[in-house]
Amino acid sequence: MAVEVQQRHQRPPLWRDVTVLKWAAQLVVLAVVAAILWILGTTGAGNIDDRGLTFGWRWLTDPPGISIREGIDLLPDSGSRAMLVGIVNMLRVTVSGIIVATILGTIIGIARLSKNWIVNKTANVYIETIRNTPLLVQIFFWAALLRLFDEPLEADIGVKWLHISSKGLAIPWIRPDIGFWQWLVFVVVGLYFARVMYRRRIRHLEESGEEAYAFTYAAGTVLLFALVGWFAHPLMAFLGPVWGGIASFFGALPTWVVQAVLAVGALGIAGWWIKRFLDGLRTPAGLAKLTDDDIFRIVFASLAGVIFAALFIVQGGISNLVLDGMRNLFEFFDGKFGAAEGGLRTGLPLRWSRPFVEVTGANFFQYGSGGIVITGGFFAIWVGVTLYTASFIAEVVRAGILAVVRGQTEAASALGLRRSQSLRLVILPQAFRIILPPLGNQYLNLAKNTSLGIAVSYPEIVLVGQTLYNQTGQTLPVVLFWMVFYLSVSLILSSIVNYYNRKLQLVER
């Protein structure tokens, strides 16, 4: 007897359906969170009115009436300019700190693995001491240390190589001079040709198999161009009118053009991202089934594109800002090229400058504008943050090197490579891939740790922001500014690190 088997696809009742329950739970939680935020918002708005506080962005354009101890502009004429000074100060510490901390950390990390007992123990003591003491304590210590020195006295007047006093640390420095930007053009062209040269030598190496010294050739090209440019840079003066022309082009451009370009650009980027995302999901049989997650992402991306496009169209100010910025940039370049007062710019691009102690006003001994004067605040935060991050980088490097398979070390020594050669040619390149993500993390930490400059009165963005909101009472807008700034820095830094990370991953099989 034939039995009919019927297949019926039964959906469970609504209150037991997992999908329904999941979405219900999410929506309920979302509603609760939204309710809490709404309550906070209305309470906040109410409190702001009651207590006579204000929330506005006028403080960005109003003259702040403060002066800043060091930076690109000691008497900023608007709040936004003051914040810019703070940002530049923070970047000064961050960039120089990252460079030095990486070098120092790598050296110490390798030293930690050395067979030499003294070197090994010294590195170990350094790492254990610095890592286990809170950063703020170290920063205070460096600040206090500098204050133990005497101030500059009459006996100190004159040009120095290096001078330490309670007013700061003065070291010699190289400064860009008149012909700097023209010379820079030569260097940039040289970099391009260096890349071409590098590629050629690498191709030569791969075809012939003999040592091609690719890096040496490339470096030599750059140096050659730099040397030629040192003497020949006035030739670049013709670029001056070019920049001027571009600047006037931007000046003449109507705002709506820029708005349209930006809006189309936002939509275009969103569309390109969606297309790339969908391409990634395409299988030979057609488009893969989209999960909740994927739909969510596509919706989110298109929403973001539409919102940004709308923002650009509605807020003309943004486009104005962009136009002004471009125009100012090219006018700046124009000023640096071509004819200065009295003919072409001749003169060396770089200038060697030594610090000096001079008498100012009525009997004050200050550092003049020669060399670089590292004030107490900058010294404390820079040394503190660099040494601290270097100790963490040392541990990261050490872990990376140890993670390279032992077989590689043994194979290298079997091939007859010395330890330093095997380190440089075999181990470090492989370790680099492992080191990169945590290294990026340490860079982020360094950037965030510079915010401790407030403790030693170094005028980076947190201290400048605090001074501004003390003067104007605009605490909430300043806090929002900080968050946007730091989030952008984190985003940019982690994107850079992720980009290199991905490049390294692709190389691997």
């Binding site: 506080l53 002066s67 204050r147 100012t360 009525a362 004050f364």
Partner: protein, 369 residues
């Protein structure tokens, strides 16, 4: 799993319970969230106001400096002394009859106004200069109100003798100097404007509070330090044993009337603060001190109204009948407060703006009638 659940409880319990101050009863948070408030919303003239809130709280939250020599000093064991601290105690004595019913909150110059406006403190006795922008509300102003000036001060500068400064130096002599001043104060703006007006160029180094600026000055990081004259005199008395520092110019470069500051639109509270200060000044005018107040409380009608009798004036502003009597008894009159705190550092009333109005000074109180 046991641990985790217990910890989860602890999370929610502590976070929710954190909605109450250490010292306020839990229930004010529950009631005020939904129903009409019984506690005073800070900064508003609701029925009750700050006075009712302070009385309900049982103590006065007084905002003072973190470290201003002779005005507010935190001793290692936590006791607070100083000119401003004593006035805080006077207000507490007036309200509660107990000069120790005070909780001191040290604030930096930068955060003092926020602390006042948010309600964390009830009054600021914090060497705050009375200026128009601080009185004003709105975007340009701070939005507070001031009581009677307890100390007429002026901004001055301090330099080192071996740089050639004398008591008669002036703006022209500070050209090219690095000047330390406290961020967020009127002194910062004054020195900038003064230097610009005198045509000299200075570099301003901002510091957080007075001890830091003294540190930097002593170490040589700053060439000049500028702040209220009283703070300079106080610091010099404590730190400059070799008399190497000198304060100039002889007449201050700005007016700095220092006094109590409280929130706007609270006239009842204003009356309490103002008349406490005036009571000390009136007692000083009459020569009534903490020693002789019991005997002297009847020397004339005004003294009786303030310190003896049925205390009608006191109760009409919300204080207990013996409020001002307790002020004089437990803290002293203006002269005692001044002498106790400021004389040891070399600030004297005679010849200064803080002398009695009968002796050429500016301390003058309206009649208590």
């Amino acid at each position: 799993m046991v641990k985790r659940f217990v910890l989860l409880i602890a999370v929610l319990a502590l976070v929710a319970a954190a909605c109450g101050d250490d010292d306020t009863v839990d229930e004010t948070t529950a009631t005020t969230a939904a129903v009409t408030t019984t506690a005073a919303p800070p900064g508003q003239a609701a029925p009750g106001g700050t006075l009712a809130a302070v009385i309900a709280d049982g103590k006065l939250d007084c905002g003072v400096s973190t470290a201003a020599p002779a005005f507010t000093e935190f001793a290692p064991d936590g006791t607070v002394s100083g000119f401003d601290a004593d006035f805080c105690r006077a207000v507490a004595a007036a309200i509660f009859g107990d000069a120790d019913a005070v909780q001191f909150r040290g604030t930096t110059a930068a955060e003092r106004f926020d602390v006042l406006k948010s309600g964390e403190v009830d009054v600021l006795f914090r060497t705050t200069t009375w200026t128009m922008s601080r009185d004003a509300s709105g975007e340009a102003g701070v939005g507070g109100d001031f009581g009677p000036t307890t100390y007429f001060d002026g901004q001055q500068m301090m330099g080192k003798r071996d740089r050639g400064f004398t008591a008669n130096s002036g703006f022209a002599d500070i050209d090219g100097a690095i000047v330390c001043s406290i961020s967020g104060t009127t002194t910062e703006k004054n020195i900038t404007e003064g230097a610009a007006a005198a045509g000299v160029s200075i570099t301003l180094e901002g510091v957080v509070d007075n001890p830091e600026s003294m540190e930097k000055f002593a170490a040589g990081t700053c060439d000049i330090v500028t702040t209220d004259g009283s703070a300079l005199v106080g610091s010099k008395a404590q730190l400059d044993e070799a008399d190497e520092w000198v304060i100039f110019p002889p007449s201050p470069i700005s007016k700095e009337p220092l006094g109590p500051m409280y929130r706007q639109n609270d006239s009842e509270w204003a009356d309490v603060i103002n008349w406490t200060v005036y009571a000390t000044i009136i007692a000083d005018e009459k020569g009534i001190t903490s020693q002789n107040v019991d005997d002297m409380m009847d020397i004339d009608g005004e003294a009786t109204r303030l310190f003896g009798g049925d205390g009608e004036l006191q109760t009409s502003i919300g204080l207990p009948a013996d409020g001002f009597l307790q002020v004089i008894k437990q803290v002293g009159n203006y002269d005692e407060i001044y002498t106790r705190n400021l004389n040891p550092v070399g600030l004297f009333r005679e010849g200064s703006l803080n002398a009695r109005f009968t002796e050429g000074g500016l301390q003058y109180a309206p009649p208590a009638r």
